[in-house]
Symmetry: C2
Subunit: 461 residues, 2 copies
């Protein structure tokens, strides 16, 4: 005899078969979208960008609507012992929304993710949040379509699981914040073409691939964790979003000691900044290839023309930041008292309003070309030369493809055989993932690269 | 026989007699400084300000150095059910430093405070932090003297007790942050004229007076608390700076529930903002009295000329924001389960990067003139009409006198006989002081008026 419970279970299982997919199928889906997405991105001189212009007095690069973002000059003067510098930086005063809808189906929690094209993506399409919007999208500054699922995030009665402001890459964005929002929905949600419900386990499994899960997804999901011990099991709603708990006695230092240390680092490693006219920047030049440093290969503000069908508007041109080579987000970790600890750096960046956030042990651009920096950048040698460290994770992950052109970082997590062999300068501290995660529950405490580490948390348990 | 210990104790006591003062003496000292401080502040047309000019294309009011602050236009569009508006706002992208040196003398902790003149102070001189500096001070933008005690805050080996970014009045400053720094010093500190070592108990006692402790001092000291139960005792260093602990079972809601509520409010009550040219603002006009609204009496951007001997430079002119009447920072509180709970509002302000911070139950400008708003502003009637509520605290406290002209708020804390009589809209939540204090350990969670409440914490224990 079938009872109502069994009926509902069978119905749910049938529904699941229509809505849900196995991991291999999702990988195949993503790959086929990457292959068949027809659009082209070509570099053009900045002067030829539609609706973008150089402001007369400053030489800053702006959009004619006054919205989106602009490229301005930044004068950077560390108050600690480091040389001052000037650089172009992205100014985008409005707060973006990175939103993910989540829903529980028969006891398993799913996240609605989009396979989304961005012009700077090296592989065109990556798995993105349900909604990546700026308030310009809301108010239709570019007169395109309304972003899909926007209504859920504007709903005054939405059930908010997480809503946090987090910084964006502080070396390239000036005080840019995104609101990372996770909503719980119980109503029926239409799954539009290009969207799929994925479990956290599936999303994290996709992080083992290169450039599959985009920066914004990693950020939103960075402080979501399982309370269950089995990484294969997907937890239900109630236990899902509690912070990870760990035996405080097992950590090398207490959360309070780490907080005091971070406060001290935030006091010490301040970078004083002033926005200046881009045209007055020392050693930065503008020519047909874009805006770049006259002598050093940092990055280029380049113009691109994009033609595509999938976006809100079908073709456009915009500036992107172009970098040479592959970046590194390298983490050292080691067992301390039987618990895995990560060597976290209190990293100062000019675009971070509080100057310092917690980041990887070694974050640098174009790292294969930086062998000359081994004596200047602590711990870089571990990531350049073979050692007795064990590789716990190695993947290539992309920076935000709406602002960066093909910029990828190598996320490399190395486990050292003995933490005591490490001489640790004051800017570095050992902490467990749970401790880092606890910091990430505050706003602007953990930087985007370290949030990526947290987004693939379960692999390190 | 006197041993070394006794000797050192007697020496310390003698030193104390030279360095420390009783509370009445300090009150007298402050009063005499307020009376004898010789300077004058007079209003002048904005066009006559030295080194300030209206930018040609925008009409924004700027300093010729490009530093200090500017007055710009802000277009404010709530995404919730509220009308949009435009207003002038203070733009000051650099992070200020509000720093206090603290030191333990024979088991008692003291804070080095300055009796400092600001042009907008209604009583000229108020008790200020050891250092109120902007980075313009560091780099000598106005070519005056270096601020006193700056070297302690630049010292890379300083012992940092607290270092937090906190917002400034979000209705008048656009995304302004100050670094609130508390340092522990063990070395000898010269006490310059105009400075005194005060205990937290003395500082809090001075808060019972009107306009004695300035806004910046209140902010820095807002999450410093006694762990000791006796409000008369001044605690030593080690136990001083731990967060207040309370029996979690005694609170109406758990910290986690409150955090989730705040996240939901931060998601819902977003004010979308765009900087716009001041001259394009609807309904704001500029005439000989300054920049003001054409029809409503919000505030005026007024020019003032200041002549004084005590500041880094001896005379100057600058804009100040001039408000009519007295503001209100009103808190309702009530016993819930034997513990005092405060009715805190999740308050949206256009200048707060995350839109919402925790604030007073009722924060409004010019409140005696607002009887007509009783039906629109929840709980305002408690502060306008006599009721059976008990007055726990009533004092007048000034807003920052470097930006506001004679702007004072009435800090009024009323205890209701029964919390259940309150109908509570979703933007209001009951929390204990300890819970509010825990939020204040994060950055940009608790607004400046609510931080003032925390700065006189002990009176509510």
């Amino acid at each position: 005899m079938r009872d109502a419970y069994t009926d509902s279970f069978i119905e749910s299982a049938q529904a699941r078969n229509n809505i849900f997919h196995d991991l291999d199928d999702t990988k195949h889906w993503l790959k086929s979208l990457q292959e068949k997405t027809a659009y082209k991105v070509e570099q053009i001189p900045l002067e030829e960008l539609d609706h973008w212009y150089f402001e007369e007095n400053t030489g800053n690069l702006k959009h004619s609507s006054g919205k989106f973002f602009s490229i301005v000059g930044l004068d950077c003067r560390p108050v600690y012992d480091a040389a001052p510098w000037q650089q172009p930086i992205i100014s985008q005063p409005e707060v973006g929304i990175l939103g993910i809808l989540s829903k529980e189906f028969t006891g398993v929690r799913y996240f609605l993710m989009q396979a989304k094209m961005e012009p700077g993506n090296i592989n065109k399409v990556q798995i993105s949040p349900t909604l990546q919007a700026t308030y310009s999208n809301y108010t239709q500054a570019h007169k395109g379509k309304t972003p899909a699922y926007l209504e859920y995030f504007l709903d005054a009665n939405a059930k908010v699981i997480r809503s946090q402001l987090q910084s964006e890459t502080g070396s390239r964005f000036f005080r840019k914040f995104n609101r990372n929002v996770l909503l719980d929905v119980t109503s029926e949600v239409e799954v539009l073409p290009g969207y799929r419900w994925l479990t956290l386990h599936e999303i994290q499994a996709l992080m083992a691939l290169d450039n599959a899960i985009n920066m914004d997804s990693r950020s939103v999901l960075s402080n979501v964790s399982y309370s269950g011990a089995d990484p294969g099991a997907d937890a239900g709603a109630s236990e899902f979003f509690r912070s990870a708990s760990c035996d405080p006695g097992a950590a090398h230092k207490s959360q309070e000691e780490l907080r005091d240390w971070l406060a001290a680092m935030r006091h010490k490693f301040v970078i004083e900044t002033t926005q200046i006219p881009l045209r007055s920047e020392k050693d930065w030049v503008r020519d047909e290839s874009g805006i770049h440093h006259a002598f050093k290969n940092y990055f280029t503000v380049a113009g691109v023309r994009v033609e595509a069908a999938e976006r809100e508007v079908s073709s456009w041109s915009q500036p992107l930041l172009k970098h040479e080579g592959l970046g590194l987000a390298g983490f050292l970790c080691a067992d301390i008292g039987g618990v895995l600890h990560f060597l976290v750096q209190a990293k100062a960046e000019p675009g971070i309003v509080g100057s310092v956030e917690l980041g990887p042990t070694v974050p640098i651009f174009d790292y294969h070309a930086r062998a000359d920096a081994v004596n200047k950048i602590p711990f870089l040698e571990y990531f350049l030369e073979p050692s007795d460290a064990q590789v716990l994770h190695s993947s290539i992950q992309s920076e935000e493809g709406g602002r960066f052109w093909n910029l990828c970082n190598h996320f490399l997590v190395l486990k050292l055989p003995d933490y005591k062999a490490i001489h640790r300068p004051e800017r570095y501290e050992w902490m467990t993932l749970e401790q880092l995660q606890r910091f990430s529950q505050g706003e602007s405490m953990v930087n985007s690269e370290a949030r990526t580490l947290l987004s693939c948390l379960q692999y390190f348990h």
